[in-house]
């Protein structure tokens, strides 16, 4: 850790400036620590640094990005993370296995089930618990519903970042319907805390099923009518096509997963590549696209919604009877060991890695969140585009800051 520049920092209390520094002067937030930072905060002629966030209307939470601008063009950027850091991994290590699940929920506040799922799966692997089949089906059913809710919110955000006011409220219709039925099932609208080690918290109830049936009868038309406002919009398509293009080799090098990877043409889906739960028994396609631009990422998510509807349909038809919880001792003390589990979420691969030392608390808990991984590719995609494109690219990656900062 060496200071590579002599410029004073405003954050350093020991530094007394002999004059006030203006907003147009480039001041790094702290004495630069790396070569990269020193290079970034040295401005050439005509360049300007601008702070986007943490309180900016379209950074999807508290992301702060320092943009280096040349006029309207983004020359370089430096994401600054950590404004939402809560130390979830450490919190999990100080709770027992049941309590750890509820810390996983708020990581991904748009699709909470997908953050619980890998944690619960890893705990089950650690303890050799056999989950009842009905519970697995319920997990898949609720998970796919949550995936649709997340993708429909993505549609709205995407449009809102491009300046469209209406789609976000239209897409909230179906998200609201899904969230309502999930709250009937799990008891909460946002942070469901539904999955348990060895099953789920409660069986399907009448209200959930009646709401689901109502919704399924018109879901396809409703989703398509919501998308038509954007898909057939010339301004939207022209702005998204060819923007933030990513080839498959770079995407793999950047460890991208999920829709963002599949939009570059790599048919990698954890549900098929490393099957878990009852996904091997279900019939669904892995949509891919070859363009790798923002439009492809958007359209691919909309294709995924259709596949999710297929999966929900199959789940409802093939739902077996039986218990929804395995028989477990009240106090869980797994053998010393380690376990890893990954699931395919709406944003990519969520994974959890747990090390047990034989006590009733995890010794180490590592959470892998795709939002964090995808955010690094912004540095590849955004430079040489305009400011407006930076927002569009970030929105098309669909990051959730709760997961990024953990």
């Amino acid at each position: 850790m060496t200071t590579t520049t002599d410029r004073p920092s405003l954050d350093d209390p020991r530094v007394q400036l002999d004059r006030d520094l203006g907003v147009f002067e480039p001041i790094p937030p702290y004495p630069t620590r790396t070569e990269r930072e020193a290079e970034f905060y040295t401005l050439r002629d005509g360049e300007m640094l601008i702070n986007m966030g943490p309180q900016h209307p379209s950074t999807h939470g508290v992301l702060r990005v320092v943009l280096k601008l040349d006029g309207e063009k983004v020359v370089d950027l430096d994401p600054v993370l950590g404004y939402l850091h809560r130390g979830v991994e450490k919190l999990c290590e100080n709770a027992d296995y049941h309590q750890a699940i509820c810390y996983l929920d708020p990581l991904e506040y748009v699709s909470s089930l997908f953050c619980e799922w890998p944690g619960v799966m890893a705990f089950e692997k650690l303890m050799d618990v056999q989950v009842p089949r009905r519970a697995e089906y319920i997990r898949v059913l609720s998970g796919e519903l949550n995936r649709i809710a997340s993708h429909s919110l993505f549609l709205g955000w995407m449009a809102l970042d491009l300046g469209g006011l209406t789609p976000i409220l239209w897409s909230f219709i179906e998200r609201d319907e899904i969230v309502d039925m999930l709250s009937a099932l799990t008891g909460q609208r946002m942070l469901f805390n539904y999955f348990r080690i060895g099953g789920v918290n409660g069986d399907l109830n009448h209200e959930f099923l009646s709401r689901l049936g109502d919704w399924m009868s018109h879901a396809t038309e409703q989703i398509e009518s919501g998308q038509a406002l954007l898909n057939e919009n010339e301004i939207f398509v022209r702005r998204m096509r060819g923007l933030g293009t990513m080839d498959s080799a770079t995407a793999l090098r950047m460890v991208m997963t999920g829709p963002n990877l599949r939009a570059t043409g790599v048919p990698f889906d954890v549900r098929r590549a490393h099957p878990y739960s009852v996904y091997p028994e279900l019939d669904f396609d892995i949509p891919t696209r070859s363009e790798g631009d923002c439009l492809a990422r958007y359209l691919l998510r909309m294709d995924e919604v259709k596949q999710s509807l297929r999966i929900i349909d199959q789940c409802l038809h093939e739902m077996p009877d039986g218990p929804v919880m395995a028989k477990l001792p009240r106090l869980l003390r797994p053998r010393p060991g380690r376990a890893y589990a990954g699931v395919e979420g709406p944003r990519g691969q969520y994974a959890a890695y747990v090390v047990s030392d034989g006590t009733d608390q995890p010794f180490r808990m590592r959470i892998h969140d795709p939002s964090f991984i995808h955010l690094q590719s912004v540095g590849v995609m955004v430079p040489d585009h305009l400011i407006a494109d930076a927002m569009a690219v970030m929105a098309s990656l669909d990051p959730i800051m709760g997961g990024v900062d953990k």
């Binding site: 907003v23 601008i50 209307p57 379209s58 469209g164 702005r239 407006a388």
Partner: protein, 448 residues
């Protein structure tokens, strides 16, 4: 003396202000009355001698005052219509159907703290909203609302409009620069680039129309379009109206060209650092701009105050009744007709059911009588007075275009700055030139 001093000490600041102001105002009023009584005739003579100046001052005052209800109405329209498009309810708490919400917004803006950020240039920062507001409001002066109802009528009306509309960019640039904020700076520069680029197709798109009309006087242009709706210039200049409308949208910084205040990119653009009534002026100017652009589109291409069909002369009512000739009868009419009508209209309610009390029936009768009288007077004015019908048609057409702007705001996303520039220079400019050449060629062919 001490009693007065003690009383003075007890007063709060508003009290002290009132106690100081009231005598001053009283003295001024007395002075004014005295001046009118003593020098009334000479003043009237001077005013009559400078009727043009008097007319200008009155028109400017009316135009300035007119912007306030116009902006309130358009803000309310926007809130309510976009809410319906978003499947929301929209404002519904303040006033009937929330119609007073924009007034409350105005009061809120008025009462907010009005601060100048550290490092801002206070003089430029303060004057920027004034420039923007005045530049947009003063364009209203040349728009003819109805036959005989206009602020000013002169030969270069259209040129005056474009000159003043171009002036607003100075204000936006001032705001962007003086705010001492990078987002504001970006917004101001975007505004400059955008408005200057779109000024050219905007101006060129109406040159064809000027050739057709042979004048730049807006009043004459509207008079030329009298008759059936096929006489409107929109049917002779279809490409022109399209270019004009698109360029005007960009000129007014409205969606999909609202890059200067793109909230998802540069927070609020040039208005980021503004608060209180200085922000209010920007806000007002934006909505007044919407009205002005719509009004100009109607004036130039959609026949202005003209109805889509000619009003037959036979249906025209003569209003040459001299009120003085009615004498005392007029007084009786004014006094008795509302009373009699109220009773007449309330009788059926009173007789219909014994559960309706007399006062309830009277209230219903009063409302109905007012509606009836209003309808009658309005119909009389519409048939008998040119300007009532003119204002009605003009406002009706204008608000159709205002609705279109709101509709676009609710539907379309924003374009990118390079697409915006490409569109102006590669598409709109050649198209407007083509429109001009075709129009000129057609005029030569028809005339020879």
């Amino acid at each position: 003396m001490t009693v007065i001093a003690r009383g003075w000490e007890r007063l709060t600041l508003p009290g002290k202000l009132v106690f100081t102001l009231v005598p001053v105002l009283l003295a001024l009023t007395i002075g004014l009355v005295a001046v009118i009584v003593l020098f009334g005739q000479p003043i009237l003579d001077v005013l009559a001698g400078n009727l043009e100046i008097v007319r200008f001052v009155v028109a400017v005052t009316i135009v300035l005052l007119m912007t306030i209800p116009t902006a309130f109405l358009i803000i309310y329209m926007e809130m309510k219509i976009i809410a319906q498009m978003n499947l929301r309810i929209g404002p519904d708490r303040v006033g009937p159907a929330g119609s007073l919400l924009s007034v409350v917004h105005g009061l809120k803006v008025l009462m907010k703290e009005d601060f100048t950020p550290t490092g801002a240039d206070p003089l430029v920062f303060t004057w920027a909203p004034v420039v923007v507001y005045l530049a947009s409001v003063m364009t209203l002066l040349v728009i003819p609302f109805a036959p005989g109802l206009y602020g000013q009528q002169f030969n270069l009306g259209l040129l005056y409009f474009f000159a003043l509309a171009g002036l607003s960019v100075v204000g936006l640039l001032m705001a962007g620069w003086a705010s001492y904020n990078k987002y504001s700076l970006l917004g101001g520069l975007r505004a400059a680039a955008q408005v200057v680029s779109y000024e050219i197709p905007l101006t060129l798109s109406v040159v064809g129309l000027i050739l057709l009309a042979g004048t730049m006087n807006l009043y004459t242009i509207v008079e030329n379009q009298a008759g059936w709706f096929t006489d409107w210039y929109v049917f002779q200049q279809p490409l022109g109206v399209l270019i004009f409308f698109i360029a005007a949208t960009a000129e007014a910084n409205r969606t999909p060209f609202d890059l200067t205040e793109a909230d998802s990119e540069i927070v609020a653009g040039f208005a980021t650092e503004y608060s209180g009534m200085r922000f209010g002026f920007f806000f007002f100017a934006e909505y007044v701009n919407v009205f002005i652009i719509s009004a100009l589109t109607v004036t130039l291409f959609f026949g202005g105050w003209n109805a889509p069909f000619p009003w037959p002369e036979a249906w025209r009512l003569s209003l040459d009744v001299d009120p003085g000739s009615l004498g005392l009868g007029l007084l009786f009419m004014i006094g008795l007709v509302p009373l009699v009508l109220t009773i007449v209209f309330s009788l059926p309610f009173y007789l219909a059911s014994s559960r309706i009390k007399a006062w309830q029936a009277l209230i219903a009768g009063f409302v109905l009588a007012n509606l009836f009288l209003g309808t009658v007077i309005f119909a009389w004015g519409y048939i008998g007075l040119d300007w009532v019908a003119g204002v009605l048609w003009f406002m009706g057409k204008t608000y159709v275009f205002v609705f279109t702007f709101v509709w676009m705001r609710g539907t379309l996303p924003r374009v990118r700055i390079d697409q915006l520039m490409d569109f102006a220079w590669k598409w709109l400019l050649p198209a407007s030139l083509l429109n001009l050449f075709v129009t000129a060629a057609a005029i030569i062919v028809v005339k020879s």
